[in-house]
């Protein structure tokens, strides 16, 4: 039976291995080798160079500092909020649960732009408000510093901790706590002895995710940090690539390998160590955990929850929206100073933004479609066949997602800029290659989860009825996993539409993307039109999310 499957379509299945080799194995191997290559020989010279320059290890140190503090504050913010929403009688708990996840949906660089507008030292809204209230000169807050960076990063990444901890608290078998109660334990003691130790692995898991994401992030350190000359690894690599030069790319490669080791290391700890420690807490009976009566604390807790929503969602949305309507940035906010001109400009007049919209939609649709086809084949091979090397294929296909986007982009440049016969630099294709490599993991995960639920006998019945491998795939498998395919497509479409980290290193004069356009306009000081474009992107993201939610009947999306 097995033999027949392989014989039937060695072309499609074998082709998958080849595509993954070209897309993932080749570029990443080159990157690894290139980090040791200096003047045509393989040495440790690049790594030595990296450590000779103070700015490099400052960047490394800053990345670690940013990662550690962001994780710490994300835990301090996310874990109590998760407990409040799942285990207490906080009013509107369900609504808050959605609102607390909302920042996860906002592209981080848009958050960065919003907070630059709010806490900018020269004319940030909050600084101006404080100046006018207290009548003082000078600034109180300056976002272009390490604390500012940690602040913005925490606000956009804490949902990782919130989601994992809320999930663990919801799944926890309530009898574990009830048993402690019959043993004579009071509420606070149960929290300390039972609840906290049981969710500790989930808290640590969420923190590691935050750590890995914050050191891999480019948008926030680029828009918030670089102006204040605060460099981290991703922005340092960007500036090496920007300043160009042959040794620039060698140093960038060495830095990339370091960045990769740190972030992959954090994810590996999460996968191999903590996943094992995450106790099976799911109960047999479907009983909801008892909620704690907050009593007199109800109103203070509600206020805290509202403040969090105000700071993480309302303030940045309002700031971007307001800025997008301003005629002159920095001037007083009056009716005369409000206009829709910025929107007209980006939609109908400005070539850069019009191109960006066109390119990004084209890229996102192509990337999502290619990823789904490729990812489904990989998932199919891994789940439904016994082909040798199928698990390796699945693992390799997932690697680029665990690697920071910056590193993937450097690898793509090394592989496809003409050194090996193919020059895709500055073209649409290099962006597409990078997007597909980075996001194909999403497709593999969503489809393999759906495929695992389809019993092999369903396919076998189609074969017995006379269908070929391909017809059974087309008539039986694909229709059954269609909801998973649709969800997966959008899960790739949405982030690729607003991709910045890889695009900023790979874009060319004719391939500007939405993320790059927002970034370049912001850097050039076109504050209002970049805000207008960011608002447009936010609206697209929200509409897309609602669409996914509707399509998947609430299973995917926020």
């Amino acid at each position: 039976m097995l033999q027949r499957k392989i014989k039937a379509d060695p072309f499609i299945l074998g082709g998958t291995f080849v595509v993954i080799a070209i897309l993932v194995v080749f570029p990443l191997t080159l990157l690894f080798l290139n980090s040791f290559k200096f003047d045509g020989a393989y040495t440790l010279q690049n790594y030595a160079t990296v450590f000779q320059a103070k700015r490099n290890y400052t960047a490394l140190f800053n990345s670690l500092k940013l990662g550690l503090f962001t994780s710490l504050f994300s835990v301090l913010l996310g874990a109590p909020l998760a407990w409040l929403v799942t285990r207490t009688n906080l009013p509107f708990a369900k609504l808050f649960r959605t609102l607390f996840i909302l920042p996860y949906m906002i592209p981080p660089f848009i958050g960065a732009i919003a907070w630059s507008q709010l806490l900018n030292r020269r004319n940030g809204y909050i600084n101006r408000l404080i100046q006018s209230i207290f009548g003082i000169e000078g600034y109180v807050f300056n976002v272009n510093t390490m604390p500012g960076l940690i602040w913005v990063m925490t606000l956009y990444l804490y949902p990782f901790v919130f989601i994992t901890v809320a999930g663990a608290l919801e799944r926890m078998d309530p009898t574990l706590e009830e048993a402690a109660r019959t043993c004579g334990s009071k509420t606070m003691k149960i929290m300390r002895d039972i609840t906290l130790p049981l969710v500790a692995p989930s808290i640590a898991g969420g923190a590691l995710l935050v750590f890995a994401s914050s050191i891999a992030n480019f948008g926030i350190p680029a828009l918030v940090g670089m102006q204040g000359r605060v460099f981290v690894l991703t922005t340092m690599i960007y500036s090496y690539m920007h300043s160009g030069g042959f040794n620039g790319i060698a140093t960038a490669s060495a830095l990339s390998i370091m960045l990769m080791v740190i972030s992959v290391g954090a994810l590996l700890i999460n996968n191999f160590y903590l996943k094992k420690k995450q106790y099976t807490l799911i109960s047999g009976k479907s009983m909801r955990p008892k909620t704690l009566d907050l009593g007199a604390w109800k109103i203070p807790c509600l206020i805290v929850a509202l403040v969090v929503v105000f700071i993480t969602v309302i303030m940045p949305f309002f700031s971007i929206g307001l800025t997008s309507l301003l005629d002159a940035w920095g001037a007083d906010i009056t009716w005369e100073n409000l206009t829709f001109r910025n929107y007209r400009y980006i939609l109908f007049e400005y070539g850069l933004t019009k191109d960006a919209l066109k390119n990004s939609f084209l890229l996102a649709i192509s990337a999502a479609t290619i990823c789904m086809v490729l990812g489904s084949l990989i998932a199919y091979i891994s789940v439904k066949t016994k082909i040798r090397g199928r698990k390796a294929l699945e693992t390799i296909a997932q690697i680029p997602y665990t690697i920071p986007g910056t590193v993937v982009a450097i690898a793509m440049i090394l592989a496809w800029s003409g050194n090996y016969g193919v020059n895709l630099y500055n073209t649409f294709w290099i962006l597409l290659f990078a997007y597909v490599a980075h996001y194909v993991a999403f497709a593999v995960r969503t489809t393999s989860a759906s495929l695992e639920q389809i019993h092999t006998s369903l396919e076998e019945a189609a074969r017995i009825s006379g269908g070929s491998w391909f017809t059974s795939l087309k008539d039986i498998v694909v229709p059954l996993i269609r909801p998973g395919l649709v969800a997966g497509w959008f899960l790739i479409f949405m982030p690729t539409l607003r991709e910045l980290t890889m695009s900023i290193l790979l874009w060319g004069p004719r391939t500007v993307t939405i993320g790059v356009a927002v970034f370049e306009m912001q850097e050039a000081g076109y504050v209002q039109i970049s805000a207008a474009f960011a608002t447009l992107l936010l609206l697209i993201v929200i509409a897309g999310n609602l669409l996914v939610k509707w399509l998947t009947r609430g299973k995917v999306g926020i």
């Binding site: 009898t175 009830e178 048993a179 047999g284």
Partner: protein, 356 residues
């Protein structure tokens, strides 16, 4: 060790009554089971005694202490009731080893290290887990985890132990073994046990008395023997063991109560015991008889005759179906003459109950 008293206990969620006006006294040292199909209110009643659910009306006493009273606004929280509880899914804490799990109630009471060790080791030997103190739950089988849960409930020397379907996650053989062990431990230390189960065999095997619940109401309270031999209503008769229900018409003739089967007009009327029919002695009844109480005899020896339609050999018994008019009676014979398919046989009813 204490008795437990429930007075007029009810619980409703919105418009749905899950427990309806239960009055019950569980005696000191008694093993009493709450038995019933799922959704009958047995677990909710247990959780009200434990203090996890608040009654809508009624009172609960543990010993002489009033622990819950809606009317007097008294509600003692679970941690102050001194009840031991064993949960269906064990609820053994995965982050603590066996010793720590079992010692936890003593730790809360700030028991000294020496005494703690002694008491923990004592209950561990009682549940046959000596030597397993350092193991973690994931290194234990389901049965062993359940023993840990049992030990944890026992170590606190509770006034009453509440067991919520403790054996339902175990395989059949282990379940039977644990039945005897739990019963044995109870006999030795004399703790009052309230045991929730939906498995009638389990309840019959272990209980001093059974409270049979259905649709939030008490159907019958009695010893296993009472429930089997003298069911108070059709539900009880049907729920416990196997039983045949046949429609009969009863009429009084010359001071004798004569019954006839409407489904089998050719069967001549036979006399039924008047004490079974109650005051309203005439009219339609349901004739309930257990398969082992129907005896098959040769057609000459009984005026009630039927035809054998099915016959299955089950080793210790022969399982027959006998057609009586339009109805079929299940008969379990363990001795006596053997009959063949299609053969006409005489039936003799030995012990039965009539329901209105």
């Amino acid at each position: 060790m204490s008795k437990v008293v429930l007075k007029g206990l009810s619980k409703s969620f919105g418009d749905v009554n899950v427990v309806n006006n239960i009055d019950l006294e569980i005696k000191d040292h008694e093993f009493l089971s709450f038995l019933g199909p799922s959704g009958c209110g047995k677990t909710t009643t247990l959780r009200m005694i434990a203090g996890f659910d608040m009654p809508t009306t009624g009172e609960i006493f543990i010993g002489e202490r009033l622990v819950s009273s809606v009317e007097k606004k008294i509600f003692v929280p679970p941690e102050e009731r001194n009840v031991g509880m064993v949960f269906q899914n064990y609820a053994v804490w995965p982050h603590m080893d066996v010793f720590k799990n079992v010692a936890y109630p003593l730790k809360i009471k700030k028991t000294g290290a020496e005494e703690m060790k002694e008491r923990v080791m004592k209950v561990l030997s009682m549940v046959k887990l000596t030597g397993m103190e350092k193991r973690y739950p994931h290194q234990l089988s389901g049965g062993q985890q359940q023993r840990v849960a049992l030990a944890r409930a026992l170590v606190m020397e509770p006034d009453v132990m509440l067991l919520d379907e403790p054996l339902s996650n175990l395989d059949a053989k282990l379940r039977e073994e644990m039945r005897f062990e739990i019963k044995d431990i109870q006999r030795r230390i004399g703790v009052t046990i309230i045991y929730v189960t939906h498995d009638q065999a389990e309840a019959m095997a272990m209980s001093d008395r059974i409270l049979l619940l259905h649709n939030a109401r008490v159907q019958q309270l009695g010893t296993p023997k009472d429930l089997y031999e003298r069911p108070e209503n059709q539900f009880v008769a049907d729920f416990i063991g196997l039983i045949n229900f046949l429609k009969i018409d009863v009429t009084e003739r010359e001071g004798r109560m004569m019954a006839s089967f409407p489904s089998s007009p050719e069967t001549p009327p036979f006399e039924v015991n008047p004490e079974n029919t109650g005051k309203s002695s005439e009219g339609g009844f349901v004739f309930a008889i257990r398969p082992e109480n129907v005896k098959l005899v040769s057609p000459d020896s009984s005026s009630i005759r039927g035809k054998v339609t099915k016959k299955v050999y089950l080793g210790n018994i022969l399982d027959y179906r006998v057609a009586l008019g339009n109805e079929e009676i299940r008969v379990e014979a363990s001795s006596g003459e053997e009959f063949e398919l299609g053969q006409t046989v005489g039936l003799r009813f030995e012990s039965y109950v009539l329901f209105k």
